[in-house]
């Protein structure tokens, strides 16, 4: 990157390091931090949305909907999550291909599952075999995001379900006394108030989500763990301009520091949000804030 980097073998010390840390591969490594952040940025709202629907389904008045909501929450919480991640990516992939196979190749008579093979017609492949590499990568990434969103959506559903029940009964009764319908009371009274009860749980979930992002590596996405392993490994002068020993330890130390900083910043941010949300609420926290102000 820098002008003096043209011949790395003559460099030493800090200048060598500055060149080493700005190679093209390292840029890909830094970019993969962006992948993690992107995953978080997409997953968190999606999971929250799933969770919201899950929670409303679980407390629905229509019995089958309630059962579905509750079973979904129970299943996802009962199964070891890493197994869930490994399972879901293949299962989703196969489900998509199977559906496309049924739709696109109706004339195909052979069974999809032949012994140990899963065979669909070429048109049903997802993404298509002819698609460029980046399409495959993006598809894998979105499959991973969807998996994360489902698993964390179930956790979030559980938190929100608890939070909805924690809203004081008197608040809902007052809403009924004012003649609001069930729907109105839900939207105007319960939803605005439930967040303060949900925030500790959701905050916890956010921390867990941050700490779950390295699992992307298991789903075959080229994330920071992949790159750290790749680049830390010892390199000889034959293959690279920057030979070095086994530095994987230092790369993972860097990851460790990155995650520590990230969780710490989130912690501080969550504390502030909690303070803001508690304001004016009918809880001990809200009462304490009111007393200080008065």
């Amino acid at each position: 990157m820098f002008s003096y980097c043209t011949d790395p073998s003559t460099l030493s010390g800090l200048t060598w390091l500055s060149c080493y840390l700005t190679t093209g591969k390292h840029m890909a490594f830094y970019l993969s931090f962006g992948t993690v952040l992107l995953l978080l940025a997409i997953t968190a709202p999606t999971a929250l949305l799933f969770g919201y629907f899950g929670a409303t389904a679980a407390r629905s008045q229509i019995a089958p909907l309630r059962w579905i909501g509750k079973t979904c929450i129970a299943i996802v919480r009962g199964v070891p999550d890493i197994a869930f991640f490994l399972f879901f990516v293949i299962a989703l992939d196969q489900a998509i291909e199977w559906t496309r196979h049924k739709l696109l190749c109706p004339e195909w008579t052979e069974p999809v599952r032949q012994g140990n093979d899963f065979v669909v017609c070429a048109a049903a492949k997802m993404p298509l075999g002819t698609a460029p590499q980046w399409v495959h990568e993006t598809y894998g990434f979105f499959l991973a995001i969807f998996t994360f969103a489902i698993v964390f959506g179930a956790f979030a559903a559980n938190v929100l379900f608890g939070a909805m029940r924690a809203v004081p009964r008197a608040q809902m009764e007052t809403a009924e006394a004012y003649g609001m319908t069930r729907k109105q009371a839900f939207r105007r009274i319960m939803v605005p108030q439930m967040w303060v009860y949900a925030l500790p749980g959701l905050g916890n979930l956010w921390m867990v989500l941050i700490k779950a992002t390295p699992l992307l590596f298991l789903l075959g996405v080229e994330d920071i763990v992949y790159w750290a392993r790749e680049m830390g490994g010892s390199k000889t002068a034959k293959f690279t301009d920057y030979p070095h020993g086994d530095w994987r330890m230092w790369y993972f130390l860097a990851l460790l520091v990155f995650y520590l900083a990230f969780t710490r910043v989130s912690e501080i941010f969550l504390e502030r949000t909690m303070k803001r949300l508690t304001k004016g609420q009918a809880t001990t926290g809200g009462e304490a804030q009111r007393k200080v102000a008065a």
Partner: protein
């Protein structure tokens, strides 16, 4: 091959006894059940040992974090922050590569690069940090009256800790600690997916489940089997911890007894 034969061949495969080669084709349900169950030996091994060792270290950490002495408090705080603030997955990787580089200078670290010891150490430190935080929270919520009464009766120092503070701390922390134990058992599934290599294909339950899913390209059989094993394991953990909980709460009137509320299965 009968199912009984399969069980004889593979029930202890994960610890190195029985048939050397894993089944390669014509996978039967029996093989999947046996091998995945065999892998559970490792999950139980990691979970139980880390839990027992971690328990004592966690108590020390909680006391350290609650201590007035800065030299005790700061290290405990940092230790807990370090292990709770970073993903276990990355800790496994870091631990493995750390042991790997240490091995080159000191032969003493040779066994640490194998999963049975290295991963156990990482799990032990991790669970100690999480439980330490739980115990610290419990330590702070011990009713003031209990400690004051102890003082009034002339308790102090070690007897006061052993007879009053510690049992109450455990009693308050127990529901959360039960969840931590469940997390820990689920976390053991990560071991062979991080840096630690599975030597001679001796892996844990998830390792074998993944093996079958890869070979048969059918995730719908091995993973549910794995889930079943884990649910059984969780139920066993819950019932053992429930018995201890009942013992810790024996002196309390019936309605005051705290039920253990389960919040299962979050990744760390």
């Amino acid at each position: 091959m009968s199912c009984w034969q399969t069980i004889q061949d593979y029930a202890l495969r994960s610890v190195g006894y029985g048939e050397r080669l894993l089944p390669r084709d014509d996978f039967t349900l029996c093989q999947q059940f046996t091998l995945i169950g065999s892998g559970m030996i490792w999950n139980v091994y990691f979970g139980v040992l880390a839990l027992i060792a971690g328990f004592f270290f966690a108590t020390a950490l909680a006391l350290g974090k609650g201590s007035r002495n800065v030299w005790l408090r700061k290290p405990a705080e940092w230790f807990i922050f370090l292990f709770r603030g970073s993903p276990l997955f990355v800790q496994f990787f870091f631990g493995y590569f750390l042991f790997l580089s240490l091995k080159q200078h000191y032969a003493f670290f040779e066994p640490f690069t194998a999963a049975w010891l290295g991963a156990l150490v990482v799990l032990f430190l991790n669970t100690a940090a999480y439980s330490g935080e739980i115990f610290y929270g419990a330590l702070r919520s011990i009713p003031k009256g209990d400690v004051e009464s102890a003082d009034a009766y002339g308790f102090s120092g070690w007897p006061r800790f052993k007879k009053i503070v510690w049992p109450t701390m455990l009693r308050l922390a127990w529901p959360a600690y039960t969840n931590e134990a469940i997390f820990l058992f689920h976390a053991t599934a990560l071991v062979f997916f991080s840096g630690f290599p599975a030597w001679q294909q001796r892996g844990d339950a998830l390792y074998y489940a993944n093996y079958f899913a890869d070979k048969t390209f059918n995730p719908f059989v091995p993973y549910p089997i794995l889930a079943m094993y884990f649910i059984i394991l969780t139920l066993i953990v819950v019932s053992i911890f429930g018995l201890i909980n009942a013992r810790l709460n024996k002196h309390l009137p019936q309605e005051v007894k705290r039920k253990i509320k389960l919040r299962m299965n979050l990744i760390r």
